[in-house]
């Protein structure tokens, strides 16, 4: 190295220590039986080595004799092999949106997203899950792949602390890259405001199609849910610079609220139709409350 001391990032910069202590007791649950890559603690559809008996099958030449059930051979005189449920590790993908829109209307929105990603990543790491954390905007901009174990918490923290809100969003492209970068399916947590002008359907379909157990967490600031704008304004889209001249009236606000509610419901419906879970999180609520209450209630964490 060049002699400079590498800065170590701590997750406590984002999360409260007490909160992290409470997270230690939680683990990510998958609604699907997913195939892992390494020996782990999750039951797999595959038969393999574990203590969980699964089935018998007749012996064929070449089978490991250690798995022959001799008790059955003694009773029946035939060779049967004992098959066990293989336990593999769980792959958890945490993808969070780092586009410019996440820094608006307040920096608190992006911090909330990073805290949420940190909490989920931490929970996954402490239970020896394989964790991949990705930041995306118009592409996957940063990624900490295949983290495993508590020791990699600092790598998780480094990613989260160093990636700033920047760049336009192209969700479909980012999802395409996410799919490509995750060879095994797992629990996919996508954290974003999902305010994509080109749409989110194509991107989400890519993720679902890859076999991930998809959780869509839509984070919106209170200002976005209940705007307090007034007067004659020129609204500037922070990502593409698109201008909208509006005279904010009560009717317009009413229609905006109706639209954002409809937009969220539309996303929720899309998720429901495609077997994904949907969570709407307002960034003004505490992250611990969201994690410990909401995510547990939907059995993402247990």
């Amino acid at each position: 190295m060049n002699g400079l001391k590498h800065k170590t990032y701590k997750l406590t910069d984002l999360l409260d220590a007490k909160f992290m202590a409470r997270l230690d007791g939680l683990d990510v649950a998958s609604r699907k039986m997913l195939r892992g890559r390494l020996q782990g603690e999750r039951r797999s559809k595959r038969r393999g080595q574990s203590v969980e008996f699964a089935d018998h099958r007749p012996y064929v030449v070449g089978d490991d004799l250690r798995f022959v059930d001799w008790n059955i051979y003694g009773r029946l005189g035939q060779l049967f092999l004992k098959l066990y449920q293989e336990e593999l590790d769980l792959t958890v993908h945490v993808a969070f949106d780092q586009s410019l829109s996440m820094g608006q209307p307040t920096p608190g929105k992006y911090r909330f997203v990073r805290q949420l990603a940190a909490a989920l990543g931490y929970v996954s790491l402490v239970h020896n899950n394989r964790v991949t954390v990705s930041a995306f905007a118009d592409r996957v901009t940063s990624q900490a792949a295949n983290l495993r174990g508590r020791a990699r918490v600092s790598a998780l923290a480094e990613l989260l602390m160093t990636v700033e809100s920047d760049g336009p969003s192209l969700f479909d492209v980012a999802c395409k890259q996410l799919v490509a970068s995750t060879p095994s399916s797992g629990v996919m947590l996508v954290i974003s405001d999902f305010l994509f002008k080109e749409g989110y359907e194509s991107g989400l379909k890519r993720l679902i199609g890859r076999g991930h157990d998809l959780y869509v967490i839509q984070t919106l600031a209170p200002e976005e849910l209940n705007p307090s704008l007034s007067g004659d304004l020129k609204l500037v889209d922070i990502e593409d610079g698109d201008l909208s001249e509006v005279t904010v009236s009560s009717a317009l606000i009413k229609h905006y609220k109706k639209n954002i509610a409809g937009y969220c419901n539309e996303l929720k419906g899309f998720c429901a139709r495609h077997g994904a879970a949907y969570i709407l999180a307002s960034t003004d609520q505490p992250v611990d409350k969201l994690v410990l209450n909401t995510l547990r209630r939907i059995h993402l964490l247990q």
Binding site: S101, M102, Q104, P105, K109, D193, L195, F196, K197, A221, E224, L229, S230, G231, D232, L233, K234, L235, V236, D237, I238, E239, D242, L243, S244, E245, V246, T247, V248, S249, S250, A251, L252, I253, H255, Y256, K258, N259, I260, Y263
Partner: protein
Amino acid sequence: MQWLTPAMALIAGAVTVPLLVLLYFLKLKRTERVVSSTLLWQRAIQDLQVNAPFQRLRRNLLLLLQLLALIAVLIALAGPVLNMNQGAGQRYVILIDRSASMNSQEGEEAMSRLDMAVEQARTFVNSLRNKAVFGLRDRADQAMIIAFDEHAKVMCNFTSDKSQLFTALAAVTPTDRTSHVGEALTVARAFTQSPGLETNNRTSEQRAQLHLFSDGRIMDLENQLIEEGELVYHRVGESSNNVAITAMQARRSYEQTDQIQVFASLAHFGESPVTCDVQVSVNQDVVAVREVALAPAQTDANGLVIMPGRASVDVAVTYDGAGILEVRHLFKDCLSADDAAWTVIAPPRQLNVALVTQGNPVLESVFQACPLASFNTLTAEAFETAMADQAVSPYDVTVLDNLLPTRLPRGRYLAFGVVPEAMGMTVSGSLENQFIVDWRPNHSILRHVNPSHVYAAQAVEVVPPREARVLAQFNDGPAVVLTQSGGGTFVWVGFDCLKSNWPFEPSFVLFCYNVMDYLGMQVTEAHAAQLRAGEPILIRGLMPGTKAELSGPDRDTETVTTDDQGGLRFPGTDRVGTYSVAVAGETPKLFAVNLLDSEESCVAPRSDLVLSDQIVSEQDAPVSRANQPLWPFAVIVALLFVCIEWWVYNSKMRL
């Protein structure tokens, strides 16, 4: 509804409305606000536009409200007037009383009744309906204005031009004359019959409504015939508090010529007794002051004065010069015209009398007993010789005793039994055995004279001219005639006194004394008379074409010229006071003009006008504008729109 200034509103609207719309077309400077995404805002805007059918209108609601406010202001600018008088235009005659009682000043502002009447008439004129701007069949009201006192003066013929009517109202000037409405009604009806200056498709059948603005103190109301509803009476004034000098006379004593006896009568029309000082001044020097107590006036149940409280003042003043004698009471009341009375006093003078006779001891002894400066007895020939080249008789009075000189110069004559040609009387025959059966005891010549026993054996039968005054009447013709003609004054007795029993009557001496007194007054006061307001100033005996400077109260000095007969007549004695007529090279002649009228001095306004056939009551409500101006309402509506616009704007900002 009418528009007073539609052109102004149209011009202002043509400028401001496009300007306001243009301002809305200009790009609004909006505040930039960075948001995470405009996705949902654009959708909301699209939704708003799609879901609201009147979105374009709603988006411009502020413009709409501002336009409405502007239109309301423009309407106010156009001067909308709601006309309560619907229907075809009508004709009105405004009669304004400008007599003496209308000079009463009332209220804290001491506004005269005439000013109040003019103000009310102005309000009435304001209420007249104009021709509507876009009304093709509409007609405007027309009005004419007549100011009246004893006489009527047309201030303005029928017109709908309000500015002309206002000008005419402003030109109404007060007078101190008495009030007679008859002439004004006659004039009004005469004008009503004619189509007027602006015919405007009027027919003479349309009856004009008369609007009388007066205090009701009008002399000749009982003689007037008014159709039902023809006259509307607007009463002016409230007060009745007035003390007036209703009679005044100052006579120089016949015996003691430096003594002037002043008589004045005062009347009080108020409700409470008053005590006031009466001062007598000569040439503005106060010579006497008397305190007078006046009882309150007696009124009937309706508050009308039946009998004023009266008092009289009798003051003897020693003054042997000429001048103006003024009697003035010092009580502060509402009418000032009757607070003082004036008279012109001439210097003391005794008469030069000539008796033209063939010998008449009766007349000689009578006139010798009179206090005369000189008394000459002449024959007819001697008189003619003396008067051969005289245009004016050198004698103050000439007595013609049954003799008639061929030529009589201008002068004052007492003629017995002869008819001077200058009198203009026509001799129609002779009378015999005549008794005086009728006479005028109130005339100063026959004062204290009782000729009821006068018998004339022979008398001249004459037909007197129209202007002559017959003082005594025989059974079949005039017995005593007073006439003024040809620059002279004649007292004519139609018989020879020696052919009657009159010299044996006490009344004969009194008659001769009175004639000397009367004609003597003519000498001393030939030019100076005590006139009533409105009576003309008459001066005779001047050269034709003579110019004189006339000055008087409330008027500038003006030049008047004598007529072909050498007479000077000036009728404009509208205000009380002293008038002066100055002929070049002569001493100015003074005239005193007084009100001396109880009816005018009784200023208590009448609520009801008692006409010959009906009673017209005053209008219950004061004159009000029948035309209701609507511009304040338009301004209120404009303010309302501005408030709504403000509220809408703030609502948009707040929500």
